[in-house]
Each structure stands twice: as structure tokens, then as C-alpha cells.
């Protein structure tokens, strides 16, 4: 369906029921859209709900309410057949390349499986497609005959990416794809993802807690805090003129690999810790840690509104 964005998420909520006490509001009403060819970063501290959003988008997570439209098709509440059809157009890459591959399946079988299952290629044609995908991801065609345990972490992530690309998805959802990798290998995989996106132009949701990595690969960035979006802005706006106090605190906390710049940086330590999503603070959910908080912040939830090129949820954003 042309015209529709690659992905549109509207008022998405995922609440996990708790045995005793109130439910965990892991994702609590968030909205954003992703155009074709665009990469959107989703950042935030651990437990803020990033992975839950990612799983909900690819249909691996029961949704409490809201809508997820992939290329114009509703995923929430879709039947098996509709979901299966939609899944052909979207793929997911997870953090841990070890558990995302079946240890008893050769690399060739793993990468070719999506094509085989959908009857898109078999025999010699399938082998050829697999060889091409492996080469594209920086592996060798001969690697098809080997098993995952014979590869390093970085190579396994290449295999996972090759498999995700087999059906040429229009949307790729990556959840911390380089977080488990060493620095030198991380650079290889980031270069690969940048190249692949240039070549194929898929839309990409890139979930990460690493702001430097997100700045490197993303066009726009969404900052998540306790199940909500705090800010969503074009990359340069977000990094050079963050409007939400949480975005500013997060950026200030990332240590720069440059002793001169890092030591000259003003220290704005964020006090306290992220509250439990089962006991959400009233009003603005960031008010318990916010250095800018005013009495109104404790009572009234700030609206999600436009400030310049950015969307922000704060009563007192940096204008």
C-alpha cells in the first residue's frame, strides 16, 4: 500500500499483569510513525519499555490497547494469516546472536529457511540466494555448510542479519543489535547495517541504550522514559538542542571517549533511580528525578506537543 508510512504506532500500551498489586505499565500509550527508508532510534534506560515496543511491533507481544500499522496493515488483533503475511515484510534482529540461532541448523539452512518456508526458492536457486545474502553480510558462501557454534559473536550477528534480510523486508526492527559485541566488532556490524540500508532502503527501528551508536545510524530519535516518550526529534536537533530535561540528563551522563571534552563537561548528575513501572509517579512521570520540576509537574501530566522541530512531553521544555 503506497502512501502509508512503513510503520505507524498509535497510543500503544502493553501492561503486564502482576500476581499481586497493580499491573506493570511497561508501555503506556506511545505514538510515532516511521517513513520508508528512515531509521528511527529508540533510546532509554533499562526497563523503560524499549524491547516491549519492539516485540509488540513485530507481533510477538500481546498488546493492551492501541494500534500498530505496518505498511498500512493493522497488526494488533490480526488473525494468523494476516499476521503471517505482514511478517514477510518485517523482520527483527535481537541483541543476543547466540540464542537467536538454532544450534542444530547449518548457517545455510537458517538463512534460507524464510525463503524455503514461503516457497520462494528451493534447490540450486535457494543456494544461490543464500550465497548472495552471506556475501552481502560479509560472510563467505562456504560458511553455509557450517554451524553457528563455529562462528564468533560478530559473525553470528552477521548470520542473523542475513536471515532477517532474506525476504527483503520493508521494515527491520533491531533490538540492541550491537550491545553484546566488542568495540572492534561493533564497528563492523554498524558499517554493515549502514551499507545494507543504503542498498535496500528499508525502514528501520533501532532500539539501543547507546546514544553514540544511535546518533551514528539514525535520522530521528525517540527518547523513552517509564513507558512513555519524553521527546522525539530529528537527530541533530536532539543532540545539539535537547528540549526535555531527561534527554539533557541522559546526554550529559554518557562519557565521551575524549578526556579533554569529557572533563570539561558540566556535571548534572541525575539523582535517584528510575521508579517501578508498577508504581508510576503522578503527573509527569519524570518529576521524581527532574532538576526542573515545579509543583504543577507532580499533579498534571504534560501534553505531547510540538516545540520547534521536536515533539516533547514537558511543561517547561527548553524552547
Amino acid at each position: 500500500m503506497s502512501g502509508a508510512p512503513a510503520l505507524r504506532v498509535t497510543d500503544l500500551a502493553v501492561h503486564y499483569p502482576a500476581r499481586n498489586g497493580p499491573p506493570v505499565r511497561a508501555v503506556d500509550g506511545i505514538s510515532f510513525a516511521l517513513e520508508a527508508h528512515e531509521t528511527l532510534g529508540l533510546v532509554g534506560e533499562s526497563g523503560c519499555g524499549k524491547s516491549t515496543v519492539a516485540r509488540a511491533i513485530v507481533g510477538l507481544q500481546t498488546v493492551t490497547h492501541g494500534s500498530v500499522m505496518v505498511d498500512g496493515t493493522e497488526i494488533v488483533g490480526a488473525g494468523r494469516a494476516a499476521l503471517r503475511a505482514a511478517r514477510a515484510g518485517m523482520q527483527m534482529v535481537f541483541q543476543d546472536p547466540v540464542t537467536s540461532l538454532n544450534p542444530r541448523m547449518t548457517v545455510g539452512a537458517a538463512v534460507g529457511e524464510p525463503l524455503l518456508v514461503r516457497g520462494l526458492a528451493r534447490g540450486a536457486a535457494l543456494r544461490e540466494r543464500v550465497a548472495l545474502l552471506l556475501t552481502e553480510c560479509g560472510l563467505r558462501p562456504e560458511d553455509a555448510a557450517r554451524y553457528p557454534h563455529q562462528f564468533s559473536g560478530g559473525q553470528r550477528q552477521r548470520i542473523v542479519i542475513a536471515r532477517a534480510l532474506a525476504l527483503r523486508p520493508a521494515l527491520l526492527v533491531c533490538d540492541e543489535p550491537v550491545s553484546a559485541l566488542d568495540v572492534s566488532v561493533r564497528a563492523q556490524i554498524l558499517n554493515l547495517l549502514v551499507d545494507l540500508q543504503r542498498a535496500h532502503g528499508m525502514a528501520c527501528l533501532f532500539v539501543s541504550h547507546d546514544l553514540a551508536v544511535v546518533r551514528h545510524v539514525c535520522d530521528r530519535v525517540a527518547v523513552m522514559y517509564l513507558g512513555h516518550l519524553a521527546e522525539l526529534a530529528p537527530r541533530d536537533a536532539l543532540f545539539s538542542a535537547p528540549r526535555h530535561p531527561y534527554t539533557r540528563a541522559l546526554l550529559a551522563a554518557v562519557p565521551e571517549p575524549d578526556p579533554v571534552a569529557q572533563r570539561a563537561k558540566p556535571r548534572v548528575p541525575l539523582v535517584g533511580e528510575i521508579p517501578s513501572p508498577a508504581r508510576m509517579p503522578s503527573g509527569c512521570r519524570f518529576h521524581t528525578r527532574c532538576p526542573m520540576a515545579q509543583p504543577v509537574c507532580r499533579e498534571t501530566e504534560p501534553a505531547w506537543r510540538e516545540v520547534g522541530a521536536s515533539m516533547v512531553a514537558c511543561h517547561f521544555p527548553n524552547e
Binding site: 566488542d182 553514540a212 551514528h216 562519557p255 571517549p257 575524549d258 572533563r263
Partner: protein
């Protein structure tokens, strides 16, 4: 001045492979020394060897550790137990796993004083306060599962420091924590070094953490020190190809987005595959026949700046 901690020519063997080979460094009181390197390069084994807590599979066949000039290798295990926690302590990456789940915060912190919590209560409360735990009077009687990861790390630091050891070994103390909590813990470690004069060995793989807090750095690769010197000097002009590539591989706030990051081809060899000569030769753009045949030893290439590379002068 006698260094608070000196490690001399440490060699550790697993099977036949020297997984740590000729590692040595010294840390002065109040100094923060970072040990950096990628996964598996021998950072944690070095830390455990310093504490004399090596796993059974690992044998130390060379080198010794000195605390304030005292050679620890002559101590019996009983004497060593008195050194650990009193003169030298260690904290770990996974604070939740390192704490005893069945023992209260207060009891665990009191252990370092050698007295029961009843007698040490005031000292424990003061220590919990010093490491930034809010409401210590309530936390002291709680169990680890009732605390967040950042709070557990503070408790571990409190129990490591209550006996005022001269040396603290911190093995990836913030790797499992969020950046906002990491910043708090790094501020705490910095304060301890300055105010108490604690000598700190900080193990990390994060060059940002090094840039933030370390006075000096030792970069490890495949069990050996590749380069060591002042933090400012190493970042301004690395003298080992591995350090230079490691720094170039990082995406930075000043880069053009999506520009190509430097890569280090291949991967770290497994200990059983360590080559003769320079262990980085298989991945080094400057490698030549000499590198593959002869092991480069650490040599001074600028004042206080040592590199184990035959071509240190040609780096960048």
C-alpha cells in the same frame, strides 16, 4: 614513593597457553589506573591474580604482587585472608550476584569491620551514607533483592571500603548499570580516590569511562599490555596500532553520522591460537615479518608512555 600496588611480570597459564603474559604496572595512592581491553584479553584474570583468588584451572608461574612494598606471594593463605578486605578489596560487575542473598545489607557491610553488626552499626550507617545510599537507617536491614542494581553496587562498594583498604580493584563496576547510575558511581569512585587516597584499579572496556576517570591507562590485548601511559597522552596520540584502531572504531558526537567507522579485521585469537611474535600481528595493518617472528616488549616511546610495538613511531 612506594606505590600502593605493584604488579610485576605476571604470567598466568591455562593448559599450555599464557593467557596473561608479562603484565606489570604500579598504582600510586589516590591514583585511578584503568585496565582496558576487549572481552577475553585477561583483565579479570589479572584482577583475580592480584587478590590471589584465581580459579583452579589457572596457574601462575611467574610474577608477584606487592602492596605498599610488601610482597604478597610470601604470605600464607591465612595471612592473605587478612589482607583481603582490609588492605585491598575487589568489587565486581554483577553486584546482585556478588552479594549474599540471605544476608542483610548491614550484616554484609559489617563483615569488613570484623565485628558483628550490633557493634559496627554506627560505622555501617556512616559508610552507607558515604556511598550515597539514601535513607541508610531503612536500607541497613533490607536484603539485596529489595535493592536496585545501582544500590547493590553501592552496598558492594561500602562493604569493600569500610575497613579503609589502600587499594580497590573494581572489575567493570558500572557495565551492568544505566548511564545515569554509572555517572553517579564514577563520581563516587573519584571522590574516594581524592578524599581517602584509595588507589583504584578500574577494569573496563569503555573508553568513555577511561576518559572520564582514569589518571593512567594500560591497554591489554590477548593477555599482554599493548600500551600504557597517562590518559591524556594515550587519547591524544596512541602509540600502538591496536589502541589507535580501538579509538577510531568508536562512533563519536563529532563524527559525520553514517561515516565509515574504522574496523579491526578478524577477531582476537583464542589462547590456544596465540601466534609467536606480536599477538596483534594477524589483525595489524602495520605488521611485517619481524612482527610475526619476534615479540615486541614494552619500551618507552615518550616520557612515561610505553608501547609494545616494533613500529610505535609509525602509528598514525
Amino acid at each position: 614513593m612506594t606505590p600502593a600496588l605493584a604488579v610485576h611480570d605476571l604470567r598466568l597459564l591455562i593448559g599450555g597457553a599464557a593467557v596473561v603474559d608479562g603484565v606489570g604496572f604500579a598504582v600510586a595512592p589516590g591514583e585511578v589506573m584503568a585496565l582496558v581491553g576487549e572481552s577475553g584479553c585477561g583483565k579479570s584474570l589479572t584482577a583475580h591474580a592480584i587478590m590471589r583468588l584465581l580459579p583452579d584451572a589457572v596457574r601462575q608461574d611467574r610474577g608477584y604482587v606487592a602492596l605498599d612494598g610488601d610482597n604478597l606471594s610470601v604470605l600464607s593463605e591465612r595471612q592473605m585472608r587478612l589482607v583481603r578486605g582490609r588492605r585491598m578489596s575487589m568489587i565486581f560487575q554483577e553486584p546482585q550476584a556478588a552479594l549474599d542473598p540471605l544476608s542483610t545489607v548491614g550484616a554484609q557491610v559489617a563483615e569488613g569491620t570484623g565485628s558483628p553488626l550490633r557493634q559496627a552499626r554506627a560505622a555501617v550507617l556512616a559508610m552507607l551514607d558515604e556511598v550515597g545510599i539514601a535513607d541508610p537507617a531503612r536500607r541497613i536491614d533490607q536484603y539485596p533483592f529489595e535493592l536496585s542494581g545501582g544500590m547493590c553496587q553501592r552496598v558492594m562498594i561500602a562493604s569493600a571500603l569500610i575497613a579503609r583498604p589502600a587499594v580497590l580493584i573494581a572489575d567493570e563496576p558500572t557495565t551492568a548499570l544505566d548511564v545515569t547510575i554509572q555517572a553517579q558511581i564514577l563520581d563516587l569512585l573519584r571522590r574516594l580516590a581524592i578524599e581517602r587516597g584509595t588507589a583504584i584499579v578500574l577494569i573496563t572496556h569503555d573508553m568513555g569511562v577511561v576518559a572520564d576517570i582514569a589518571d593512567r591507562v594500560a591497554v591489554m590485548y590477548a593477555g599482554r599490555i599493548a600500551e600504557t601511559g597517562d590518559t591524556a597522552a594515550i587519547f591524544a596520540r596512541p602509540r600502538h596500532p591496536y589502541t589507535a584502531l580501538l579509538l577510531a572504531a568508536l562512533p563519536r558526537r563529532t563524527d559525520v553520522p553514517r561515516s565509515r567507522l574504522a574496523v579491526i579485521e578478524g577477531r582476537v585469537p583464542a589462547p590456544s591460537e596465540f601466534p609467536t611474535g606480536c599477538r596483534f600481528a594477524g589483525r595489524c595493518p602495520l605488521a611485517d615479518a619481524r612482527c610475526r617472528a619476534e615479540t615486541p616488549l614494552l619500551r618507552e616511546v615518550a616520557r612515561g608512555h610505553l608501547s609494545a610495538c616494533w613500529h610505535a613511531e609509525a602509528v598514525r
